[in-house]
């Protein structure tokens, strides 16, 4: 075999040698293709595996951590929540609609594979600036792709986030998360147990779509990426809806021995992983695989990423029952092989062996690399930001309006009104709050779900960025009245073979691990997406945190919007706002510098405990943590839903500048509104919990009225709420109509 052949498949020379050693001979093309997909970064995590060991993955609630298709967390009453996030960045960069749609399809399969009913979808998106027509095409395409798939399949898309920044121009990020609820007794695993059991391929037919999709995901995007459009799969949400119903019906009947979805690396991945996990082997005959087109070669069948397919392992006696259930849903179910005891994956075509290799070598024995690390040179430069570099703006109102209409801060209604966020009638807190809340039928409970990340912070300080990504997600949940349970992460970075990029990755994971440890929110699964870069450079390092929280009593939920005129507005927590890495610095001063806001984890935990306890005690009418855009934006966001104005007076203590006080960003702080008669009780609770709390204003009138006074200084924003709402709500729509 010529080196060009394995190079073309992305296999390195030393990796080819390893394969030869494993097999005791040169692989044939089918085998090489199978190794190339299984040993790609996307499937094997060969560059990230060692670093990911830093994550805490266990506590008393975790029923299943990383390693299977999704993590499972105990929520009491015999129920569990199952969730995972996954990226579909590269496919979406060249074919936004299908790229995003199949991302949604893939993550849903990961959830129902475990035996859970998928109940919610979320997404975290990053694009370049909307001024660029191609970016608008990408953004519009991704949103309609997510909508097209999620809406049809009938799983509500309840939350998410979208950010725009130049670093994502050539390489958008599309991270999708799915959450499921299940009966703990119904947990099903991707294991091919029981020699002689039947291996059944169900769902869609196999075509040539998505050949080498995982290899494509494991390299940088370039000029020639457009030609890889055929590597992008095409989704069929209707087929997947039927698959969910049929598979859950079988799981319910208890006939499934093992089940796994066919995603990246298709049949190769499902056969080798299921066998490897169970310590068995598998023999299949690909001439039995229902095809979409004629003339497919064995390697194409084995690595095709045609969507909406699942592999089931059942006892031979159950074959007919499986066929009957699938027939009822008008789906095909074809026995393609058997579980064996020789630990080999053996692929036959019409009885003739075309590939044969140890299952474990494909699934678990990919090389593990420890890439070099080096602190990037920009790190030292960016933290030299001083206030003298930030000219003091003249007009606070102008600054405020610019920030509130920045696409990063502006209403995302243009996005979420395209998503069916209500189907299944369980969405109790709709998109637009800090986190979405879903009821769990038949119980008093609810779950809160959020997804969050800040690439700018992580760029300036990956370690701190990692910590704050977790802290922000936890705060979002706490502000709805939920106790954070566990994390799924999507780690989006550039090329790990570059030492500066790997340093960013390592530091971010280190920070996230520290925070997950402190909050007792283990990581139960996730996804690494490397090679997010183009000739113009890498994206911001973007660790995205998906988090699920539990409300024991749904009646104790809380939202961000003010409820009634006359309510007091309080500012909770401590921490000095900073311009570093803020939206203010970016939008108004066009600077990407400074240290992102510091966080004291001990204080943060106290702060979250206080908020949670105050909400549960019924003391709080609304709660909203300070995030991008700082205090001014957080105060305004509470006004929007019920069109209630505020009157807030702040005094600038010490020598803090008014612009930093209003728009600077900070951790561990939140705006609360309370009924006046709760004042004493909440102040006492804050005192007991050691959390600073002070009244700064009240809910009043129809204007947004915010005043800062200090020694010889008075600055004010006084604008009709109606004007702010109109601009905030219309900003993204306006840009999309350019």
């Amino acid at each position: 075999m010529k080196p060009e052949i394995w190079h073309q498949l992305g296999v390195k020379d030393q990796e080819f040698e390893m394969i030869v050693n494993i097999l005791g001979r040169e692989p044939n093309y089918v085998e090489l293709s199978m190794y190339s997909v299984m040993w790609s970064e996307h499937c094997s995590y060969k560059n990230s595996k060692n670093t990911l060991k830093l994550f805490p993955t266990e506590n008393e609630r975790i029923l299943l951590g990383p390693g299977e298709n999704a993590g499972i967390v105990d929520i009491g009453d015999g129920l569990a929540v199952v969730f995972k996030v996954e990226s579909h960045n590269h496919p979406s960069a060249i074919e936004p609609y299908q790229g995003a749609a199949t991302g949604v399809g893939g993550i849903i399969r990961d959830i129902f594979t475990m035996g859970a009913r998928p109940v919610a979808l979320l997404n975290s998106l990053r694009f370049g600036p909307l001024e660029d027509a191609k970016i608008r095409w990408l953004f519009g395409g991704v949103v309609s792709g997510i909508a097209g798939y999620g809406n049809c399949i009938g799983i509500p898309t309840v939350g998410g986030e979208v950010y725009f920044d130049g670093s994502y121009s050539g390489n958008p990020l599309v991270n999708v998360m799915c959450v499921g609820i299940m009966d703990q007794e119904k947990i099903s695993l991707g294991q091919a147990k029981g020699t002689g059991n039947s291996v059944i391929l169900v769902g869609a037919r196999t075509g040539r779509d998505g050949i080498h999709g995982v290899t494509f995901a494991s390299e940088e995007l370039g000029e020639e990426s457009e030609e890889k459009r055929p590597a992008v799969q095409v989704g069929d949400p209707f087929m997947e809806k039927l698959l969910i119903e049929a598979c859950l019906e079988l799981i319910d009947m208890g006939v499934i021995v093992g089940i796994q979805d066919l995603g990246g690396a298709g049949l190769t991945c499902a056969t080798s992983e299921m066998a490897s996990r169970a310590g068995t082997g598998m023999e299949i005959d690909i001439s039995l695989v229902p095809r979409r087109e004629e003339g497919m070669l064995p390697f194409e069948v084995m690595i095709s990423e045609s969507q909406e397919r699942m592999l089931l392992v059942v006892e031979k006696e159950s074959e007919e029952l499986v066929k009957k259930v699938f027939d009822r849903w008008e789906l095909s179910a074809t026995v393609i092989g058997r579980v064996t005891d020789d630990k080999m994956v053996r692929v036959k075509e019409k009885g003739e062996v075309v590939a044969e290799m140890p299952a474990k070598s494909l699934a678990d024995e990919a090389p593990v690399y420890c890439p070099e690390m080096k602190t990037p040179s920009y790190i030292e430069e960016v933290c030299r930001l001083t206030h003298s570099k930030i000219p003091e703006p003249a007009d606070p109102e102008e600054v405020f309006l610019k920030i509130i209409t920045s696409p990063n801060i502006a209403s995302k209604e243009w996005v979420y009104r395209q998503y069916d966020h209500m189907v299944r009638t369980c969405t109790v807190v709709l998109p637009g709050s800090d986190a979405a809340v879903l009821r769990i039928r038949g119980t008093k409970k609810g779950i809160a779900v959020t997804i969050d990340g800040n690439g700018r912070y992580a760029y300036l300080d990956p370690y701190l960025g990692g910590i704050t990504a977790v802290a922000e997600a936890a705060r979002n949940l706490v502000c709805t009245g939920a106790e954070p349970l566990a994390v799924t992460d999507c780690l989006n970075f550039g090329n790990p073979e570059k030492p500066e990029i790997f340093w960013q990755f390592y530091k971010a994971v280190e920070g996230m691990s520290k925070a997950c440890q402190e909050f007792n929110t283990p990581v139960v699964g996730g996804n690494v997406s490397f090679y997010n870069e183009t000739a113009k450079g890498a994206i911001f390092p973007t660790p995205v945190v998906g988090m699920v929280g539990l409300l024991e009593d749904l009646d104790q939920r809380c939202t961000i919007d003010y409820k009634e005129e006359g309510d007091h507005i309080l500012l909770a927590g401590q921490g000095e706002p900073t311009a570093g890495g803020s939206e203010y610095l970016s939008i108004i001063h066009d600077l990407l510098e400074g240290c992102p806001p510091e966080i004291d984890l001990e204080q943060e935990i106290k702060f979250q405990n206080f908020i949670l306890e105050a909400i549960r005690a019924g003391l709080v009418s609304s709660a909203h943590d300070l995030s991008q855009g700082g205090l001014a934006v957080a105060l305004a966001e509470g006004c929007f839903k019920n069109s209630l104005g505020v009157q807030v007076k702040l005094s600038a203590e010490r020598d803090i500048r008014w612009d930093i006080l209003l728009f600077g960003e900070v951790q561990s702080r939140a705006v609360l509104s309370i009924k006046p008669d709760k004042y004493i009780e909440i102040m006492e609770l804050a005192d007991k919990k050691g959390v600073p709390l002070k009244q700064i204003g009240e809910v009043k009138g129809k204007d947004f009225n915010l005043e800062v006074t200090g020694p010889e200084m008075r600055k004010a924003i006084n604008l009709p709420l109606e004007e702010i709402i109109e601009k905030w709500r219309g900003a993204i729509e306006c840009m999309m109509e350019l």
Partner: protein, 230 residues
């Protein structure tokens, strides 16, 4: 009163209608499978929202030919109560039980938002309990842009068959209040006898205050009242 919720391949609001009847209305309810012909003796058939057969040909087109819909037609001709919601409305137009068609939204995008509905005819079995105020009920569809030819439209107008129109919270029928570009803001229509209603908004999603509105319950309560009186 016994309700039946039809399940086609691709229905996805079947569950919501089911729980609306069972948990909120507290009435017996059964699923009706698309391949069966048996309506299981139900008093009201609900055709739920979703994407029957993926809506790949035209929304509701293939479902219109299913064995169960044949039985629903018979049931409707005999005066049985039929409520088509969203995709169910599309199925009813494709099956010929209601006139007109539902085109792609004028925005060319899916819309999931709360809308307000003006009740134009409160003498139907579905609206007899409505009062003189706008109902807050959400829509969630990509094809809700109602169209009918001028003669049909005149006939619908004349006979009080336009049941709901999109309006603002104050009850005024305005262009801004229309989420999909439908003709004359039409949100729901009924057949000549008034026993078959098709509507794009989802009353089953607005059955509890918890979900942001319980105005949708008025429609189900009206059905109960009508059935009780007949």
């Amino acid at each position: 009163m016994k309700f039946g919720v039809v399940v086609f391949p691709g229905s996805n609001c079947d569950l919501d209608s089911y729980y609306m009847v069972k948990d909120v209305l507290k009435q017996p309810v059964e699923y009706l499978w698309h391949r069966d012909k048996d309506l299981k003796g139900v008093d009201c058939v609900i055709l739920p929202g979703g994407f029957t057969y993926g809506d790949y040909l035209r929304p509701g087109a293939i479902a219109g030919f299913s064995p169960l819909v044949e039985s629903v037609k018979e049931f409707a001709h005999k005066g049985g109560l039929v409520l088509g919601i969203c995709n169910g409305f599309q199925v009813l137009t494709e099956a010929g039980l209601l006139p007109g068609a539902l085109y792609l939204n004028i925005s060319l995008q899916f819309r999931c938002v709360f809308t307000y509905l003006k009740v134009e005819n409160n003498r139907t079995p579905f609206t007899n309990l409505t009062e003189d105020r706008a109902l807050k009920i959400p829509v969630a569809h990509g094809d809700g842009n109602y169209y009918a030819d001028p003669e049909t439209l005149t006939e619908l107008e004349k006979n009080g068959r336009i049941v709901f129109r999109y309006c603002n919270p104050e009850g005024e029928v305005t262009k801004e209040a229309n989420p999909n570009g439908s003709l004359d803001n039409i949100a729901g229509i009924c057949n000549e006898k008034g026993n078959v209603l098709g509507m794009m908004p989802h009353p089953e999603r607005a059955g509890e205050e918890l979900l942001g509105s319980d105005d949708g319950k008025i429609i189900f309560d009206s059905i109960l009242k009508f059935w009780g009186e007949n």
